[in-house]
């Protein structure tokens, strides 16, 4: 079942291939509808054994030009529908073949295709690595304003204490380098100074799905993919003008023992998005303003966020896409809680302290060559971020610019699907505590996917990365991966993979020079990358009203970067390669269609056995058991969400503080009224008191939220 469609995400319907090519090739076109003839927008139509594909438009119409003459197998996949296949489709030179599809609704809103696991479009279940997907429906049914509120419901993923973690790789990052690589439409989205991910610059509207590739994945994407890769995939710009308006208001219900004032602590947000086409150029504009008082003293946060996307026909049939995101956020500083038993107050000296974040992000996807068997893609990006403290006793700042591009050549030849490419990036930091280091990264990668039989699929990949920093050293890393998928039956598949990944130290880890809380921290330019080698065995079963996925895995980490004392010097610290660790676990996901269209259940469970092999202790800030459940009633009119995590076995900062397990329950109800979607939501329904992973950082108390939106369908 090998098929490719690298051009899929950007393939347009309005552009014709050159006449010369048309005379030697044919065209496939038609309509994708649901049973009952309603159009399905965004369905992926793929031609097996080629890189050709297209998405259906809002009328369900698709068009694929440049189809080589011959007999083809054509597949269609769409979220929420059972995939369909048509074999023996004959295309003659110059022919336009009409091929319609009528899809049956699936009990589960699973995505039709994914793009992250192999840098190409592939069907879910074809990846030898475990992949979790948050679909647009998963996100919409939780009425979230930030993706971090939905990500914990993806199997194997946690988001706590500001740290995104996959299968226990990260723990608590603490703002000094993410062990998960975040990408937006394939462009890396980590800051150039601290190597962090910032979800604050990612709008929720316009997101088609979030793909999470679990396990080390530097073989395709380079540094930071220790725990895996999270790729935010945006939806195509719709053909016709479309406007979405969404506004929300809410309030925190702070328990009386934590109350610090009589006023109501509320939050509100307004998002507006408009899409249009000007001649053949697609545009999508987005603006957002969020304000929250927070639930703590000093907790006020104001965020402005703007995004512009464009789809421009530059190179023949495949339009090129561009985006620019700008955001600014003013955040009240509430760091340094004294005790979870006290009121939510900051120390008197800290009252009024705040800091400002600013971001500017540009990215483009340019398919310079898009043919049936060849795709050449350039993906340039620029990411600027800046932070400045406005504290009573601290005005620290850092800002960084990171610019780079990847080039990727995909080819289908003689049963091989080959991907070759390279990455290059340059980063520059300016800071009073980091200095002015500059980084250079460059890489070459290759991947071959072969399918010796319809049931068996193998993937081999390797990447060579070079990382240099000035002042500092040069380091090279080799990251291989190998994976196998075996389809026992059309409904059941087995997979296994082994891979290696690395994380280059962030500039802040190498060059920070400061005194904080009476502690002197000095640079360590000789810091080495931390690495991980991991393997997993997994299975997926689609049994009609029951969908199951599971994997057992083990990861071995070496040279983990942590703060430590400088040898020979007392009371002086720096970041060092100090720890070896091993994480063993089980990762499960299930979707049940309990009562068709009436009651559904999505459940995840993650078991971790994380050991620090250097200290022979548990790795800190990880729960052994994490589970989520979502009960969907009446097709999403009512949702019940549950998150559970067991007591964190080891913490570092306040180990004598009491710790316990945490169970959070949320309720959401929706009702559509004359095109207006009204949603009411209660989070932390049972007023659980908990810490947000890090000791003395209280988790959010119960909150109530009302959201009104118009135009969400078809977004």
């Amino acid at each position: 079942m090998l098929f490719r469609s690298g051009a899929l995400l950007v393939a347009g319907l309005t552009l014709a291939s050159p006449l010369a090519a048309q005379s030697r090739t044919g065209v496939l076109t038609g309509r994708v509808v649901a049973k009952g003839d309603s159009a399905i927008a965004g369905a992926s139509v793929l031609v097996d054994g080629t890189l050709l594909g297209a998405l259906s438009n809002t009328h369900g119409v698709y068009r694929i030009s440049g189809v080589p003459p011959g007999r083809h197998t054509v597949r269609v996949a769409a979220m929420g529908y059972a995939a369909a296949v048509r074999t023996d489709v004959h295309v003659a030179p110059g022919d336009t073949v009409k091929l319609d599809f009528s899809l049956s609704a699936s009990p589960f809103a699973l995505p039709g295709v994914i793009v992250t696991a192999s840098r190409e479009t592939q069907q879910v279940g074809e990846s030898p690595a475990s992949v979790s997907v948050l679909t647009r429906k998963d996100i919409a049914q939780r009425d979230v304003t930030q993706l971090t509120q939905a990500l914990p419901y993806a199997a194997g993923v946690t988001y706590q204490g500001g740290t995104l973690d996959i299968r226990g790789a990260a723990g608590l990052a603490g703002g000094v380098g993410s062990r998960v690589l975040l990408m937006l439409d394939g462009h890396p989205l980590l800051t150039g100074d601290t190597g962090e991910l910032d979800f604050d610059i990612l709008p929720v509207l316009g997101v088609s799905r979030v793909e999470i590739v679990k396990g080390p994945y530097s073989a395709l994407y380079g540094s930071n993919a220790l725990g895996g890769v999270v790729n935010i995939v945006t939806s195509p710009i719709p053909e016709e003008p479309h406007t979405i308006i969404r506004m929300n208001v809410g309030a925190y219900d702070i328990p009386s023992r934590h109350k610090f004032s009589d006023g109501i602590r509320n939050f509100q947000g307004l998002e507006v998005q408009h899409s249009l086409h000007v001649v053949s150029v697609g545009l999508r504009l987005f603006g957002d303003r969020d304000v929250t008082d927070g639930f703590t003293q000093n907790g006020r946060t104001t965020r402005w966020l703007f995004r512009t996307e464009a789809s421009v026909p530059l190179f023949g049939a495949a339009p090129s896409s561009f985006y620019v995101i700008g955001a600014r956020e003013d955040v009240g500083q509430s760091f340094g809680w004294r005790s979870a038993q006290e009121r939510f107050e900051v120390p008197p000296d800290d009252l009024g302290d705040w800091y400002r974040n600013g971001w500017l992000n540009f990215g483009a996807t340019l398919d310079a060559l898009s043919r049936a068997s060849t795709l050449l893609r350039f993906s340039p990006y620029v990411y600027y971020d800046a932070v400045r403290n406005h504290f009573h006793d601290n005005q620290d700042y850092h800002r960084a610019t990171r610019a780079g591009s990847s080039v990727q050549l995909s080819m289908v030849r003689s049963g091989h699907s080959l991907t070759l490419g390279g990455d290059a990036a340059y980063g520059k930091v300016t800071s009073n505590i980091i200095g002015n280091p500059a980084t250079k990264d460059y890489a070459l990668f290759a991947q071959d996917v072969i399918e010796p039989s319809p049931r068996f699929r193998a993937s081999l990949g390797v990447r060579l990365d070079g990382h240099s920093v000035t002042p500092g050293k040069v380091d090279t890393q080799l990251s291989p991966k190998v994976g196998l998928v075996y389809h026992v039956t059309p409904e059941v598949s087995l997979r296994t993979s082994v891979s290696r990944a690395f994380r280059a130290p962030s500039p802040v880890e190498q060059f920070v020079s400061t005194t904080q809380y009476g502690v002197r921290v000095v640079p360590n330019p000789d810091l080495d990358p931390e690495t991980v080698t991991a393997g997993e065995i997994g299975a997926t079963a689609d049994l009609g009203r029951l969908w199951l996925d599971g994997a057992v895995f083990q990861s071995r980490f070496d040279r983990l970067i942590q703060p430590g004392p400088v040898p020979g010097r007392f009371f002086v610290y720096q970041f060092q390669n100090v720890a070896r660790a091993r994480v063993t676990g089980v990762d499960l996901e299930a979707r049940f269609d309990l009562l068709p269209r009436l009651l559904g259940l999505h459940a995840t469970y993650l078991y971790l056995h994380p050991r620090d092999l250097t200290l022979d202790q548990p790795l800190p800030y990880r729960s052994a058991h994490t589970a989520t459940g979502t009960l969907t009633v009446l097709g999403g009119l009512l949702n019940v969400d549950m998150q559970y995590r067991s007591r964190v076995e080891r913490v570092l900062q306040f180990p004598a503080d009491p710790r316990s397990s945490t169970t959070l329950v949320g309720l959401r109800a929706a009702y559509k009224l004359s095109g207006l979607l009204v949603q009411a939501k209660v989070s932390n329904l049972f007023q659980e008191q908990y810490v947000d992973l890090q000791e003395r950082f209280p988790g959010a108390p119960r909150s109530f939220k009302l959201t009104l939106s118009k135009g969400l369908e078809g977004s």
Binding site: T194, N389, Q562, L652
Partner: protein, 139 residues
């Protein structure tokens, strides 16, 4: 709610850094104390995370304990290295021979054991996974 990246970075490095001098606890369930501990002490020796044991004249310092708080000052003057001056304060509690301390300066907690024999106080604590031992003589 986002965290301050500058602030949280500092927090992480601070995690590694305490232990050394502090002693204290603001645990709301703070158990019994030991009145015999109250007083002022001089540093006899200090060992930190496998490094050589230091004492006067290279390492000098004083520790003042009330029934629940501590204040410590340590100066390290290793020839050829910059002088390190450490000042810390916070709260502490003891239960049996267990010692729990929380630095209000460094915002971190240490747990370990202590002994008090003939005015000599020995404290062995672990802070963020790092071991530190110190010996003090009551003045």
């Amino acid at each position: 709610m986002a965290y301050s990246r500058v602030g949280s970075m500092a927090a992480l490095v601070a995690l590694a850094a305490l232990g050394l001098s502090s002693c204290g606890d603001n645990n709301p369930t703070a158990p019994e104390g030991n009145p015999a501990l109250v007083g002022t002490y001089s540093l006899v020796s200090i060992t930190f995370q496998g490094q050589p044991t230091l004492g006067p004249p290279v390492a000098t310092g004083s520790l003042t304990l009330t029934d629940s708080t501590y204040t410590v000052t340590i100066t390290i003057a290793v020839p050829g290295q910059p002088q390190e001056d450490i000042q810390d304060s916070g709260t502490y509690s003891v239960s049996g021979n267990t010692w729990t301390q929380t630095s209000t300066v460094q915002n971190v907690q240490s747990i370990g054991t202590y002994t008090l024999t003939d005015g000599t106080l020995s404290v062995d604590v672990s802070t963020s996974g790092q071991q530190q031992s110190s010996v003090w003589q009551k003045q």
